[in-house]
Assembly symmetry: D2
């Protein structure tokens, strides 16, 4: 199967990309350990892997690990604004097949997905489900050799589960997102740190003493809320699930419906996976200079069409911030065009966190490869043994031993009537 030639930004600097990749690599001990094993075992020998993911330094490390394991890798982005061209160029120079350009149009973006899938992959790595969308749609023929796929995000898995409920799923998927070593770390601590880092760098505004409204108290939302509070903000939570709302309350946050929160927030962060979380009637009540940022996968959480309609003009007020002038003189400040703020206005998740997530990805893809296609068509959890092992490797890399059960203790935990 011939791979199409790489499509990357011509003006990019592969050297700069390489330096960033090496920095990440130095801080990913778990992935380095897996790479070492893969170099010997070659689990992906003769296999083609299509990846759709934010193309930056850490994902580059994952792509290289798969290549070390024998895979032929076709890599494309999963969001036109999150591609870092230098990284793409560095990977293309090393012989990976790379199809992505920062700021691609919707049309080019789709053509890049197609280019990646045109290799007829044995394995697919999806982040948000765009490859799955094409493989269940117009490009279903390219799924012929497919053994299975992994999916990185809450959003992607929700979409695949919805599809499977309706009987439409066509291949087995490993829900990497649902592994404990993924959502407990990446979604919560990774999103928490990277979203706040992006907002700090983009705005230079003081978070201590401000009111930050976080819409969504799932794993990602609670990470954002935790770090917003850790930076000194008074945090308000908006939720639709009463149990999560009650939990936020008991954690000491204020819980309000968005209609009320709109009037008091200095900064709004959406992280729900849903659309129209902030819309015209909320814009109408916001304070002058309120900032709006989205940390959900798609740029639909803040209704941008309604924001534009509500304003009388807009302009760049600082790199990464667009000011919308309201008729009454207020200015509402949109960060990163409403796209995933930590990737569109920052470097994405911290390296050490992605070391865990991508260790799960690498091991799950190895597991799929070894399954040889015998896994039923369904959304599968990451095997508990992989989850556990990744955590063990992290602890080992940091030199942290932990306790283990004695035989007596194990017996005690298994007994119905302990002595």
């Amino acid at each position: 199967m011939d791979m199409k030639p790489s499509i990357v930004c011509a003006a990019a600097s592969p050297d700069a990309g390489d330096a960033r990749i090496r920095w990440a690599w130095r801080n990913m001990p778990v992935l380095r350990r897996i790479a070492e094993a893969f170099r010997i075992s070659r689990p992906f020998r003769d296999l083609r892997v299509a990846m759709s993911i934010h193309v930056e330094a850490k994902t580059a490390c994952l792509a290289k690990v798969l290549a070390e394991g024998g895979a032929e890798v076709a890599l494309t982005g999963c969001n036109p604004l999150s591609t870092q061209d230098d990284i793409a160029a560095a990977l293309a120079r090393e012989g990976l097949h790379v199809y992505c350009v920062h700021g691609a149009t919707a049309e080019s973006y789709e053509s890049h997905l197609e280019a990646a899938l045109s290799c007829r992959p044995h394995l697919v790595l999806d982040d948000g489900g765009d490859l799955a969308r094409r493989l269940h749609g117009d490009l279903r023929d390219l799924a012929r050799d497919l053994i299975g796929a992994t999916e990185e995000t809450t959003t992607g898995i929700r979409r695949l589960r919805a599809l499977h409920r309706r009987g439409g799923l066509r291949y087995p998927v490993i829900a990497v997102n649902d592994a404990r070593c993924k959502h407990l770390f990446d979604n919560r601590f990774g999103t928490g740190q990277s979203v706040m880092a992006a907002i700090l760098a983009t705005s230079n505004r003081m978070l201590g003493g401000s009111t930050i409204v976080v819409a969504g108290y799932g794993m990602c939302g609670r990470g954002v809320a935790l770090r917003a509070r850790g930076l000194g903000a008074d945090v308000v939570i908006c939720e639709i699930d009463p149990v999560k709302a009650a939990e936020a309350l008991m954690e000491g946050y204020r819980v309000l419906p968005m209609d009320e929160a709109a009037a008091i927030g200095d900064l709004f962060i959406t992280v729900t996976g849903c659309r129209d979380v902030i819309r015209d009637r909320h814009f109408a009540r916001m304070k002058d200079n309120a900032m709006l940022a989205n940390a959900g996968h798609f740029d639909v959480e803040i209704n941008l069409r309604e924001l534009a309609a509500a304003s009388v003009g807009c302009r760049q007020v600082r790199p990464g911030i667009r000011g919308y002038d309201m008729a009454d003189g207020r200015v509402l400040c949109l960060l990163a065009e409403g796209r995933l703020v930590n990737l569109a206005a920052g470097d994405g998740h911290p390296i050490e966190i992605m070391d865990l997530s991508f260790a799960l990805q690498a091991e799950s893809l190895r597991y799929l490869a070894e399954s040889g296609g015998r896994l039923p068509v369904a959304v599968h959890p990451v095997p508990e043994s992989i989850d556990r092992r990744v955590a063990e490797w992290l602890l080992e890399a940091r030199g942290i031993p932990i306790d283990s059960l004695t035989p007596d203790q194990s017996a005690y935990l298994e007994a119905f009537v302990p002595d």
Copy 2:
């Protein structure tokens, strides 16, 4: 079916008990709402309910709600040290059938369990699984009319699941502990606050600036760690699960094996559900004046036999604290005789938390009653609708509205390819 006459401490003051029960009742709005509904619907008419639970003000409220719903209630303790005699006396005076005395011997304790079960209950409420142990052992004949049971604790459920795996379970059980409104609140925030409150009141020692070692980073352990840190301590976590250990690490705690932690702790709190978590080789390394407390269900987490063997004498050094003199001059300070410190040296979980847990209990027992015995013999989750409703009632009682999905938003979340 005749109930045996109540057995309560003769010296107890039902008036004092009553006052405490009324104080709790005023702070349990969700349970009050359920009581109001039960008074009309009478879901337990003609049913006998046996409860084994820490007998104090909040559980008294639950017992009364069941009685309001038509049940004949037989109540016994689940730990000889956690019974508050005034409360037991107040309930007995109101006509409930109560069998418990603070500080009962092991033998009396067992006879009280038997007294409660002698009513041949239709429904059983267990906290830790002591009624289940007897109903699967010597008192199996008393399970003849049994429709099902609820179990309150992680420990009890683990035991029942182990039993079910071996084919031994005899009736359906609702795992109340596993409901979100239970373990997210009761285990974490309830245990966290009440354990620290008991230690503060018992010791008068400064927690800020001290090193607190928390063994076990399950839901209970993380609540304890959170509050210990909130009180200014440097918190160290001991774990056997690498994922939980990694999580504790990312939350900013130090993670150490107990062999190392033993040497640096000023206060040790076990909350693992396992035995022998702290034992002779740890006692040998501890600092002078180190305090030891257990927050796990059973008093086996700190090996008391080995502690006694390692010491050359012991005496009460303050109410609730026993000082063990080591041969080398150090004194190790055991709180509440190694029993569940928040109940044995305090008033247990905060009232508002138990309002949630007992709302789940009341509704789960209603669900069992309405099932009329049609539920298969297994360990069942609390129905999601009950879980959700309890949280909704909490929010309503506090006057906190939350957002809800529009039809468009629901459709978006269900779609595979969102527009």
Copy 3:
């Protein structure tokens, strides 16, 4: 000079008091070190010391250290509700001159102050300024031999400074409160922990998820706010100083005037040193079941007369809690009768904190004794060398070495133009 015979509660148990004193002593390494030095140097030989202080285990240790240093000690309380009779009895049994009874009437309380002063003290230790009040009033004749005094509290020092500004001060006073090792620790962390501990033990209510209004953001108030937040509460601050209010805001608290805060608090804690902080128009707006506690030195911060006038009845709803029935059905819950809640409903500050404060007291009294009356009549700071030494001894007791400046570094810090 003959001392009057001790006046203590006849029913008290000196043995129980002794056990508590020994527990405190074990946890006061700095004071133990000073005692050892005093036993040799005997700085108070032939001197009489009158102390007015909360009589409990930790202050007992201080009294004993002074006695070890050669002083004849006359001890009285500084608040009728904070005296622990067992402790008083234990000290009297050891030969100290003790005049205090828990729950003394205002009249007896004053007679106890007089009994303590009747020894014509050389040195006075005041906590809140009650001895100073008498020594500047009707008992001025008993100040004849007085070398000087120490004062423990913010309130007491403010009163003495006001007096000195008007030219009325009669002897030199060391403002122990203003030493860094006092107010940074005792006022902030000591008050913070002990106030929350007392409220937890008294109420059994859940603080996580509640709104706690803290009136006063001085050192004590910020300690209370910090621990209230650490226990999961949403904390609101009321202040009169705009800089402190701005500081609270930047720390992430909400800042509101009491008129607004009154309507949203679940728990109110006054810690201002001022009177009438919460009064009738606030009671009128409070939620049903709101709790009121005072952590300021005097019981004037919550206007109890107006609370009584606003209510139609009141009764004990739980030990330490009085429920006031409002005409509209609401109940407002007053803790510890509006007195210093951490002492009236708890054991006061944590032991390790008082170890620092009382080390300062002991050393300041030694400094006064050595001054031989040559200190001018004024309010003096604790000498910086004492402050520093006490902190050094704390660190040594915990085995914590710290860095020190090299000669080059010292020179750098002193230079105007560093090289």
Copy 4:
């Protein structure tokens, strides 16, 4: 007096600078309010003001406020790496006299100071004391018309006080740093947020789960420690003052001497105002990949000469990070060349914080101007009334009313014997 023509980077974009200045201006309500008053009162009419300060958007706003007040402003930097050329160009275009270029050599830097002073200023604004150094040295003749100066930093004030102790100070200085509205906010919360923001943006590394060593627990250091902990790190403090060390301990931090901390830190942040805080013997013990950042005013806290000597090579590993290769294979990563990391690798303090600091500056300069030279030569505090007013204006800008004392309450606080 003629001003020298501006010296700014020719390649800079005044438009880009202008946009950043406008963004800051929108978020500085207190300074806007002062500007409005100055436009009418013109306190600096006919006065020349020389400013040495980090030239970026917020300081530009201050310069413009002084110009609005009638001053002729001569502006130079206070650190060659912190100048933002676009800002300098924008100010020069508006007619201010600007002398600074990013990355100036030591020689040019000094010539820029001289150019600013050549106007023979009436008022001087210093940040770190470089203008003072020249005005007390080779350029003392240019101080002829000087009424007085303000100094922004702890470091600058310490130097001026040392000078004054030796009798060398030549003009009155207002210690802006020591105002409550300065050091409580700018030093603590401003430094805390901006240092962590710069490190996050520069490194993309995970702080949660890492060990961060903060050297220095003054106001700046505690801000850094607070935010480092808020981001999930395990924070270790190094100090030379035993009281501050004890305070850090009670706040829950670990306190260690640098010799021990060196071996466990993942990230080191110096913020002491002293030199050689981290040096060769510490580099020798550090972990591979340890990061080093300085947040003190001068780049002497990490001994860079010894770092270079200890390494066998070094190279840029990521923009803003230099990797030093140790002979044993470890790499130590130096951020921002050891210069003030929040300014050299970020946008400096948050806007809202500088709104307070610069309001103090503007009002202090007005106070100096109005003093007409009658202030004695000394280091003076900012008048309490200014401090208070700035906080009031902040609260007003945010719409936050606070409580005020009634006459009765004031009387109570002044009384020696309250009724």
